[in-house]
């Protein structure tokens, strides 16, 4: 890629930051060039972020209806999934799946809830509650 072809698309996902891209200058040699974003890349990022937000929103609605536990919402909101939450908390994936149901979650002892709180940087109250409707 030539220096002049380095995209400067002011991507919103960069939030005003710039990235370094290596490109060929007029003398035919490589230089580090700052880029304010590439439309192609930010489209891919946005797609992933939107998908996550959609899932989070859905979990919130379900949690408010009492179909899933608040953990399901907080997990997605904080960009965890069952596998990464399992790796960080030490619970098995099947345990976490159980904890996603309100019936089981509501009966969890504080020691287990604290485990989630530590990993997700939440207080007990935050973990067990949902944002106001």
């Amino acid at each position: 890629m030539n220096e002049k072809d380095v995209p400067q698309d002011d991507s919103t996902t960069y939030q005003g930051q710039k990235k370094l891209i290596y490109a060929v200058d007029e003398t035919g040699h490589y230089q580090g060039v700052k880029s304010s974003g590439w439309e192609v890349e930010s489209f891919a990022t946005q797609m992933a972020v939107d998908d996550l937000q959609e899932q989070t929103q859905e979990a919130l609605t379900q949690a408010q209806r009492g179909e899933v536990s608040p953990l399901a919402y907080h997990m997605l909101r904080l960009r965890f999934d069952i596998s990464s939450l399992s790796q960080t908390t030490g619970f098995f994936q099947w345990q976490i799946k159980r904890h996603l149901t309100p019936k089981i979650f509501n009966k969890l002892p504080e020691s287990k809830l604290n485990n989630y709180c530590d990993v997700m940087k939440l207080t007990l109250v935050e973990l067990t509650s949902l944002p106001e409707q």
Binding site: M1, T13, Y14, Q15, Q17, K18, K19, L20, I21, Y22, A23, V24, H29, Y30, G32, K34, W38, V40, E41, F43, A44, T45, Q46, M47, A48, V49, D51, L52, R79, F80, D81, S83, S84, Q87, T88, T89, G90, V119, K121
Partner: protein
Amino acid sequence: MTDIILDIDHQQSSHCESGVISTLLRSKGLNISEPMAFGLSSALTFVYLPMVKIGGLPLIAYRMPPKAIIKAVCKKLKVDLHSQTFSNQTKGMQALDNELAKGNLVGLQTSVYWLPYFPEDMRFHFNAHNLVVYGKTDKGNYLISDPVFEHLVECPAEDLQRARFAKGALAAKGRMYVVRSVPTDIDLTPHIYSSVNKTAKMMNGLLLPFFGNKGIHFLAKKIRSLSKTKPKYQKLFLGNIVRMQEEIGTGGAGFRFMFASFLDESAKLTKNDDLQAAAKEATAVGDHWREFAMDAVLFCKKRKDLSLDNVAEKLESCATHEKSLRSTLLSIKG
């Protein structure tokens, strides 16, 4: 307590690991650029692991696994790197303060998610982000040279501790490293040729179908078979490839441009025209990857009459070009 602020020559880098080792070596007077560190460690590769899922999407990487760059560079150049991990968080933070007090720049492995200075959309649970700490304020905030950022940043102690000791895949366990000494008078020439050769040999892939050229063809095959899945999954799958290739600090085209830059710099150093020609070819390979990313996104947007087969074909042409780059690299003799 007063501020500790050590001298640092912060240069923005594309990738965290090559950037950090370049910063640490330069601070000791060994002038190794980011592309040179990347090239010398023979970190360029391609990996597609369909069975390893991250957020429901397969793992795709364009370089060797984390820690490989720092390890390889230090081993090759006989740099004395002191690296340690901690089971006790308080001791881990104390050790960092001790090194700073001694006047040493400290490299840390951290989780991107818990670093508050990262843009919201780029925060995800990835535990192998590298950065350099160059000081601490009297309020207890750490001063950080994060290689992928334009400017120097600051981070509260509590957040940095959380980022260092985040658990999970690739957990850092508080890993910190300090360059103790670097050799003087290094001749890079033999290292350049050996690492170019090693990169070329790896480009074909291993016995398994997940790596190098074979991996690219394997991924192309998978893209063709996506026609049986839901449109939403097709989009997320292709978007994931583009993100791994462009978004997460690769210097463009999944490290291909950084590698070309390494060849370019090596050609200047060794005055070898073959390396210069190879740099040009590597640039063309990178351009192909960028075109592939564009096609993949165009497919997601449904703007052009592109089919999954077209996208897969573009990817296969990347593989063809890499194959010819491989034979060029193998023919280079020092």
